[in-house]
Amino acid sequence: MATTTAAPASAPVHDASPGQTGLWSWVTTVDHKRIGVLYLYTALFYLLVGGLEAALIRTQLARPNLSVVSAETYNQLFTMHGTTMVFLVVMPLSAAFFNYLIPLQIGARDVAFPRLNAFSYWVYALGGLFITLPIFFGVAPNGGWFGYAPLSGPTYSGGFNMDFWVLGLQILGISSLAAAFNFITTIINLRAPGMTLMRMPMFTWMSFVVQFLVILAFPVITAALFFLQFDRFFGTNFYQVQAGGDPLLWQHLFWVFGHPEVYILILPAFGLVSEVLPTHSRKPLFGYNVMAYSGIMIGFLGFGVWAHHMFAVGMGPVADSIFSMATMLIGLPTGVKIFNWIATMYGGSLRFPTSMKFAIGLIAMFTIGGISGVMHSSPPSNMQQTDTYFVVAHFHYVLYGGAMMGIFSGIYHYFPKITGRLMNETLGSWQFWLNFIGLNLTFFPMHFSGMLGMPRRIYTYDAGQGWDLFNLMSTAGTYMLVVAGLIFAFNFFRSRKVGALAGNDPWGAPTLEWSIPSPPPDYNFAQIPEVTSRYPMWDLKSPERTAGLEHSHADAAAITEAHAVPIHEETERRTAAELGIPMPFNTIKPFMVALGIIVMFSGMIVLHAGKFPLAMAMMIGGGAFLVGSLYAWLTSPLE
């Protein structure tokens, strides 16, 4: 009946969810692992889209006065490149890891609200199409990824382009918020007995901080977007200068959201490398407590630095000084993390699989981006750099060199857990080095082109300004990144089929997710483990590494109530029914609610097109469908 993972290497990988096959099972799934996989594939698809947009941008800028694309197309390309990479790639890739890992790392069988989780995914997937498809009709958003009003308002962007941006971001915000409520509840309430907050794996810790940033930052942009939406659709005056409206209102609201958003993008990657580095250094994370506190500190300070994006508007010396100092201050907890990662490796017994290379790559590249970030915190220096390619260099070092490197590290590290097979290390090494060289070749010269005065967002430039060579280098580097991406895609899809079998714990890693089979069965843990330290799997397999750490048993009542058993490796594969574990039913209803939302928002576009009756029909019909589906969802049992 039960088969074991000790099967020969040629044996097929086990089916993680028996009876769950076919398209319909994916549309109706509520399993956090399958939803994580959906996020992963969807976000990788958008990475391709955003990458192609970047390649077109760089091709246009390769030489002076090229006309590969028109100025209008170029506006759409850079707007969609930014919007795609922030909202459709990095956030959802992080969400893929939140979904897949958080329940496994805290010893839970699923998230707190499995159907809400499916809803978050479908809102993201459909919202992504809503904001991306217009590019095929030449009406993609074209006002920059931070949509500065009044440029993005009805007076200067009268077409459909920015409608899609305003409405699309609203849709994506719903997805992020719903997911954040879910993960906060999951982390607070579904930890296994003994899994205290200060024993949580660092990825879960950083994710926890990120969810709070999401629930506190997204409502602010929701309000700002509603104002813009009302200005565009209903003729209100929020950003209308002729009616006394203040264009700075948008900038303040956007960056009150926008700066925490930066940490929403980077902290999950920090969490991932905080898992990879101790594993491959075979040594506990250095300064665990300080790592957790510095993450919280970054989250707090992240809400107090937004106006450093706005030094150029002239807020006066007092505001400039306060935001300048707060920005320098936020460098401290970030620097603490860098030093702690280095100290984790120091004296360790290091291995260098691809995940470790990317993790070390993050430390190096993020540091460069961090240093140019501290340069921006000084208003006089900022005034020289603002709106130039120097800024573009800075945020690509932190987001590509930081967030994406960390995410690649996480993909190589967790691919065996997700698929049961290892990725190819040779191809991984090629990808890493091409990425590393390519990203430096692309983004380092931008520091120089920026210092020489090349502004952001221009679609072409004249020769003889000293920018030609740097732009050519950036373009060449981008093509290397495209090649690296193709190698990654090849490695990813090939390894799914033919990669070496991973077993429960291919890396000798310390946390709970490695105690169960790869891929994990649908119920995750046949027996909820009792956690007695930060590194339960090392307690089991390499106790010498955790001898110096605090160990203690959980409350006996909690152990009894959760039916928890001592930490052990689960090798048997039995079905949930055999184990008597109730599983949530698959359901289409979250998808239907998401669909209702999309129809309602699409009605706004139809309204702009002047088809009032159709628009009303879509909004009322979509709303009724939404409410009906929601009632059906709430009145049907979960399991």
């Binding site: 039960a2 074991t4 707190a112 609200f113 918020l177 954040a180 409520f181 879910n182 906060i184 509840t185 607070i188 309430n189 579904l190 930890r191 899994m195 629930i215 506190l216 930052a217 997204f218 409502p219 602010v220 929701t222 309000a223 700002a224 509603f226 104002f227 009302f230 209903f234 003729g235 209100t236 005056n237 929020f238 009616a243 006394g244 409206g245 203040d246 209102l249 609201l253 009150v256 046949a526 027996q527 909820i528 909690a558 109530e561 959760a562 039916h563 058993v565 052990h568 490796e569 689960e570 090798t571 048997e572 039995r574 184990l579 008597g580 574990i581 109730p582 009632y631």
Partner: protein
């Protein structure tokens, strides 16, 4: 090692359906608090925008001052304090009835919770009706403002006022719908102590919407 967990799990078969939680609280209770935290930021943004734009309208009508248009037409201060004071009282009373509704659900069948005044149905209906009455006041207020020449497009005050109070009104409307749904369930099968959590979270939402109105009433209506 593999067989030990298997036998242990057999002991607590499928009849075990209450899920273990770390804090002992229901998941929904934690989620609603996170949601309310998030809503605070939404209303903080809406209220800040109203306050930032206070006194910056280029034309009238204005909330607390009379305004004479270039054509010589005189507009009175537009806010109607008696009406809004009454609607504020109605909404505050709805929080009281909400508390009584939750108490009636939690203590169903216990002494002191008999008859019409001990029934959750009475208090759920009362709360929903008071909420609906508040919405009626708001509809009256909005309509009379439009008749007096203030729309959402007129000036910065109209834009930020209708948006802020409109968002609050939408929240009240959602709350009324939620309460009506609870009432429907109560009439159909009766709400008892084991359903207290679903009434509890709706009550938290309702009180939050009420508290937001206190802030709006103070900052928009009372402070000149």
């Amino acid at each position: 090692m593999a067989s030990a967990p298997a036998t242990a799990s057999g002991a607590h078969e499928a009849h075990e359906h209450t899920h273990y939680t770390t804090t002992g609280l229901d998941n929904r209770k934690i989620a609603i608090w996170a949601f309310i935290g998030s809503e605070c930021m939404l209303f903080a943004s809406l209220i800040s925008t109203y306050l930032v734009y206070k006194g910056r309208s280029l034309v009238g009508p204005l909330p607390h001052e009379a305004w004479t248009s270039p054509a010589g037409q005189v507009f009175k201060p537009i806010l109607n304090m008696p009406v809004t004071t009454a609607s504020t009282f109605v909404l505050l009373m709805s929080s009281l009835t909400m508390v009584l509704a939750l108490a009636a659900v939690e203590n169903k069948g216990k002494p002191g919770y008999e008859g019409l005044l001990g029934s959750s149905k009475t208090w759920l209906l009362a709360t929903a009706l008071l909420g609906a009455a508040f919405l009626g006041f708001q509809a009256y207020e909005f309509t009379s403002f439009v008749h007096e020449g203030l729309t959402i497009r007129t000036n910065l005050f109209g834009t930020s006022f209708f948006t802020l109070t409109g968002f609050h009104g939408t929240h009240v409307a959602v709350g009324v719908l939620w309460l009506m749904s609870l009432l429907f369930i109560d009439l159909k099968r009766g709400l008892g102590p084991k359903d207290a959590i679903i009434v509890d979270i709706s009550a938290l939402y309702w009180h939050f919407v009420d508290v937001v109105w206190i802030a709006i009433f103070t900052l928009v209506y009372l402070i000149k």
